[in-house]
Symmetry: C2
Amino acid sequence: MAHRQDQQRRASIHDVASRAGVSAATVSKVMAGVTTVKPENAQRVLDAIEQLGYRVDPLASDMRRAKRRIIGAIMPEFESEFFGQMVTQLESLAEQRGYTLVAASSRESEARETEILARMHDWRVAGVVLAPVRNEHGPAADFMKANGMTGVLIDRVLSDDAFDTVSADSAAASAEVARELIGKGHRHILVVGLGEQAATVRARLDGFRTTALKLAPDVRIDVVLAETDVEPLRAQLRDYFDRVEGKGRGARPTAVYSLFLKGTLVALSEFRRRFWHCPNDISLVGFDDAEWMQVTWPAIAAVVQPVRQIAGHAMEALFARIEGGEGPPVARLEPCQVLMRESVGSPGNGPHPGNRQ
Amino acid sequence: MAHRQDQQRRASIHDVASRAGVSAATVSKVMAGVTTVKPENAQRVLDAIEQLGYRVDPLASDMRRAKRRIIGAIMPEFESEFFGQMVTQLESLAEQRGYTLVAASSRESEARETEILARMHDWRVAGVVLAPVRNEHGPAADFMKANGMTGVLIDRVLSDDAFDTVSADSAAASAEVARELIGKGHRHILVVGLGEQAATVRARLDGFRTTALKLAPDVRIDVVLAETDVEPLRAQLRDYFDRVEGKGRGARPTAVYSLFLKGTLVALSEFRRRFWHCPNDISLVGFDDAEWMQVTWPAIAAVVQPVRQIAGHAMEALFARIEGGEGPPVARLEPCQVLMRESVGSPGNGPHPGNRQ
DNA sequence: ATGAAAGCGCTAACAA
DNA sequence: TTGTTAGCGCTTTCAT
């Protein structure tokens, strides 16, 4: 017995036309809602469409119109809540405008990023939403520029001279984290980050440092910045803590601010290895929220990025350009929300007083 | 100053042809690696391609060949690690074969699922990898059948009479969880699930129950199954615990087995609300692993689904069908790994002995 | 070894 | 009001 034996050719516009006794052009007009078609014929066309289950082939249609209703989205990864939500949002916004979203992941590789972009260019996508691996000055943005592609840059970007950018207001959020930690009395804070994502991480670091120093000039801020990957960061963090512990009690920071999600995980796992508990032994705040952070004990404080706003404004900007909008690129920063949860306390409450209940 | 002023038309095959002084057909042949082209001409074509930066338009190409090198993937959501990894894998496997993956999320809605499928059919995708919202007997599978689409069903499926299926071996994994919990001495266990995903949840529940009862006929297994959504589950779980607590000490289960990820989160958050700590107050194992589970304190035991295997075999099966493979549908079950972490202990170790260190 | 012609499924001018 | 014509960019016979 044949698998998918009913694989008959789908009805084309000509099938509809001949069944309705009109030309293909007329069918096309009916589908486009052109009003100059004689009602009687329109009805015959509609009937034929219904009977044949006809639907336009969007690709063939785009082909002729020389404008494809496809938006490309390139994300560094699909595995995180942030980018997962981002893709979901973008998908839905593209659909609302009758476009299809084609998403691809660069897997944190700039080479792959450019490759994907080239493929999207081959597809002649109407526009691209690019969340660059590194920042707005990578090869991908250059490629887009060189090929006259329409696009918007999001997330790990600040501003660009060729493309609109939309990202979270990292600096403001970090300033708020600084206010919170300083306010609770922390005077020795470790900041953990990934240097590769230059622009954003720098904004977060500076935003934090500036405000912290303003509020408490005596604050000590240590920084552990891994260059490229997460595993080296784990090692560096371990070394760091070994070193400060070697200097005896009091040399250890009382709080950690992680500038990105994986850093938060690494910090937590390092705490675990040392049997430190939040917030008694050390406080923790992370940039980027995740569902699990509110159900662990203790719940982890986090900076929540406004995914919907970022997606919304990115698509708005993109479609404005697609529809011919001119003018200099605009750089948007969307405000974050800082959720201070139980992982943050005041220093000097003594080590691990055990579980309260 | 014009935005994207360099938006010149991209070079077409005809541009290459005229520059090389040959016909479009010849260019096409060169690109296809046909050997009958005079080397000299081939070289001229290659040069022209190089100079113009020519690349074929894959859509136009597919159009003519009447077979589009596009694979559709429909996932219930993008936000979870599991489906994120799945999409990443599928993307990479499709690429390896020169296909493009177009992923869409049904957002846990069967109506939307069918809608997306129809759109993919409009696109004339070569095949579809569908992770149904509910199970293999939904409207989406019917649609695929009715329209002679080629596809593979994954994840929330057991077997189907029309499509190949690939999923995790839920029953075997659950049996192993049962062995572990019974082995540790648990005799009163709560199982938490979502009834909607009928097939899979049933397999997990039965696999667990059967083995547990075999090993310890006196075991008491309570079940809290919400029908559709997570929030009702939260309420039901709260009620359940209120009820058993009302009956005094000893009426409370000593372990919880959650049949899906969100259930694990709900269980954890409920524990938190009651100031119960794992594993001293209660043990916890969840179906589905996540990165954070190994860094929390305690680390959460979990069933790890073999994402790569599922994706790999799904694509294998799909391409076999695309290439005309016949024969009855096959149902694959991929073995899971059960990671027993600190959230599981033995019952009766007394309540919250505080932090060891 | 090569190119002309036909056409995938559709739409946009233009004529009728 | 409608149909004819002419492609979009490509590939594939099929003559030459």
